[in-house]
């Protein structure tokens, strides 16, 4: 038999949604794709933390104290060394990605949901509703996040909840403002008037016509917001008002290592790098998404 010719039917047009176009443009940017790969890698690490760095007594676990083994510099057995209790720093960084990503996702979900609702109502209805909601947002913006976090942590027990509330409330105004701005643009467009003219109710118009058309800037904001949330969560844990030891959290690990930084650099080096790489990757991805969503760059 000779070669089999594969007849590709070029005439059948592929369905092309807006998201498909966005993905096509996103793929073309090497920086954005690098960011995406790193983020995906981090998420996989977090998901399979127990497989990558198991803690079963035989292996050097992230939570097993081994005082005879403390302050080891990176070596073959502990590639990132050990900390002051002899715990394996590699295992702790791996497990720390779980905490960081989880906090990040919860914070983003929390602030995005509230922010989108507030921004959509303010932008769509305007007038009194807008004034009340946006002034409230302005008040939130006027409180320094650290101060807010300290008061929330003081009022309740420091931990996941206090971080989510503190960072989430701090990030809420960003989403509300982005959402309000894009609702204001979208609601003036003719297809919204057309939707009124076919008898759709206001609620339906918001849900089916306004919100889906405002989603692009929110997705970009959420990607950047994830970086913001992870960074702030680490900062609060570093200050001791966030995730508490012995839970492996990158910020908290930095805080512990701070005391030994002169003699044992590896204790701050690796969690610090984990934070930096994660934030960097998310920002690269966010930039790429923003460009991909920008129709003016359409080719």
């Amino acid at each position: 038999m000779g070669d089999v010719t594969v007849n590709v039917n070029n005439e059948s047009k592929k369905k092309r949604s807006q998201l498909h176009d966005v993905w096509r443009r996103f793929r073309k940017s090497p920086i954005a794709m690098t960011g995406l790969c790193v983020v995906v890698f981090m998420v996989l690490v977090a998901l399979f933390a127990d497989v990558i760095a198991p803690s079963d007594g035989r292996n050097p676990g992230y939570d097993i104290h081994n005082l005879g083994n403390r302050f080891q510099a990176p070596n073959a057995e502990h590639i990132m060394g050990t900390d002051e209790f002899g715990r394996d720093i590699f295992a702790r960084v791996v497990h720390g990605s779980r905490v960081s990503l989880l906090v990040g996702f919860i914070v983003v979900t929390f602030s995005m949901t509230l922010g989108v609702i507030v921004g959509a109502i303010a932008g769509f209805f305007g007038k009194v509703a807008e004034n009340i909601l946006m002034r409230f947002i302005d008040v939130l913006l006027s409180i320094p996040p650290i101060l807010l976090a300290i008061s929330i942590a003081a009022a309740m027990r420091p931990g996941m909840m206090s971080i989510v509330l503190a960072v989430g409330i701090g990030a809420l105004p960003l989403y509300a403002r982005v959402m309000r701005a894009s609702v204001l643009t979208v609601k003036e467009q003719e297809f919204i008037e057309a939707a009124y003219s076919i008898g759709a109710s206001k609620f339906r118009i918001i849900r089916k016509h306004v919100l889906p058309n405002c989603i692009a800037p929110i997705i970009v904001q959420a990607t950047m917001g994830l970086a913001y949330a992870i960074l702030w969560a680490a900062a609060l844990s570093f200050l001791g008002i966030g995730i508490q030891p012995p839970t492996p959290e990158w910020g908290a690990m930095l805080s512990e290592g701070r005391m030994y930084i002169r003699d044992h650099w590896h204790m701050v080096m690796f969690p610090g790098m984990a934070i930096a790489i994660m934030i960097f990757a998310l920002n690269m991805m966010g930039d790429g998404l923003r460009d991909a969503f920008d129709p003016r760059l359409k080719k």
């Binding site: 047009k13 369905k15 092309r16 949604s17 807006q18 467009q189 003719e190 297809f191 008037e193 057309a194 939707a195 009124y196 003219s197 076919i198 008898g199 759709a200 109710s201 089916k208 016509h209 889906p212 058309n213």
Partner: protein, 323 residues
């Protein structure tokens, strides 16, 4: 008369802004019979679109405000209906085609879903049945069914306007308001879209208000014509009557502004001057500063609507009291 579908009486709509009150529509009177096509002709800013939006009850408020007047549709006064009752009318009994098909479709919904939406809103069908109805409508406006799942940006301007027409006619409305439906299209496509509208109008027996500034379109598809100037109808007549026997100086001016292929005039006779500023309309007849036949009293008295022959109304002092 029982076959009157739409009756607008003394409609006055103002836009109240910080820079003054815009007198968009002033004492406008119109009527339309079932199945009939009325051409609403006027320059940009004459209040054509505001009139259309008033019929739909969609004048943006604020700044728009209906000061006075009634819109009677199928014998019911639209301004007395509640918002929920109006929603039952919109898209179902009265539907509207917008000027620019590039912006009047939702960019992130497939065309099938957009047609199905209006069907779902007004007819008691399941989602699946609505989609079938949508495909059926697409076929009617000449779009292949396999393109139903595509998005508006994959269609050309003329195709999009076909989709818009499909949406407007999906619930078999009694009245279709077309707001310059072909202005944004190429001339060749214009003819196709007009032809399509004419056919579908006949098929569905829909009355139509065709808003345009193109007298050629009026000649093509309208039965009656209303000429608008500065927010009111200055002349209304049957198409034949208006084209052969225009009375109002503004209407005559409009016809003089069209090049005539038979006569070899090298210079057109445009109407001198510009549309008056709608925040500051002249006293008396709003057209008198531009009118060649203006009399002294034209700047003082606002002419009334006069019927000079059957179904031929003029708003001009030259004919006031004459009919």
């Amino acid at each position: 008369m029982s076959d009157i579908l739409l009756k607008i009486e003394d409609l006055t709509v103002h836009y109240i802004t910080d820079d003054g009150t815009v007198h968009a529509v002033n004492d406008l009177n119109l009527s339309l019979n079932k199945g009939e096509t009325l051409g609403l002709v006027g320059e940009t800013g004459a209040g054509k679109t505001t009139t259309a939006l008033s019929i739909m009850g969609l004048v943006p408020n604020p700044p728009g405000k209906v000061i006075n007047g009634e819109v009677e549709f199928e014998g019911e006064k639209l301004f007395e209906k509640s918002e929920a009752e109006l929603r039952q009318v919109r898209g179902n009994k009265i539907s509207m085609i917008f000027q620019d098909p590039m912006t009047s479709l939702n960019p992130i919904m497939t065309v099938r879903d957009q047609i199905a939406e209006v069907v779902l809103l007004h007819e008691n069908l399941t989602a699946k049945e609505a989609k079938e109805k949508a495909d059926e409508m697409l076929l009617k406006v000449g779009i292949r069914a396999d393109r139903a799942k595509e998005f508006p940006h994959q269609f050309s301007g003329g195709m999009r306007q076909r989709v818009v027409i499909a949406i407007a006619l999906a619930c078999n409305p009694v009245l279709l308001i077309a707001d310059e439906p072909t202005t944004a299209l190429d001339v060749t496509i214009q003819a196709q879209v007009l032809e399509l509208m004419k056919e579908l109008k006949k098929e569905f027996n829909t009355a139509m208000v065709m808003i345009t500034h193109d007298l050629g379109i009026v000649a093509e598809i309208c039965d009656n014509v209303a000429i608008m100037y500065a927010g009111s109808v200055v002349e209304q007549a049957g198409k034949e009557e208006l084209f052969t026997n225009p009375k109002h100086p503004y209407t005559i001016g409009l016809f003089n502004s069209i090049p005539d292929i038979d006569s070899d005039d090298s210079v057109l006779k445009p109407i001198k001057g510009l549309m008056p500023d709608p925040t500051n309309l002249p006293t008396g007849c709003p057209f008198h500063p531009r009118c060649d036949l203006a009399m002294p009293q034209c700047s003082e008295i606002l002419p009334k609507r006069t019927e000079i022959s059957e179904n031929h109304y003029v708003k001009c002092l030259l004919f006031d009291g004459g009919g």
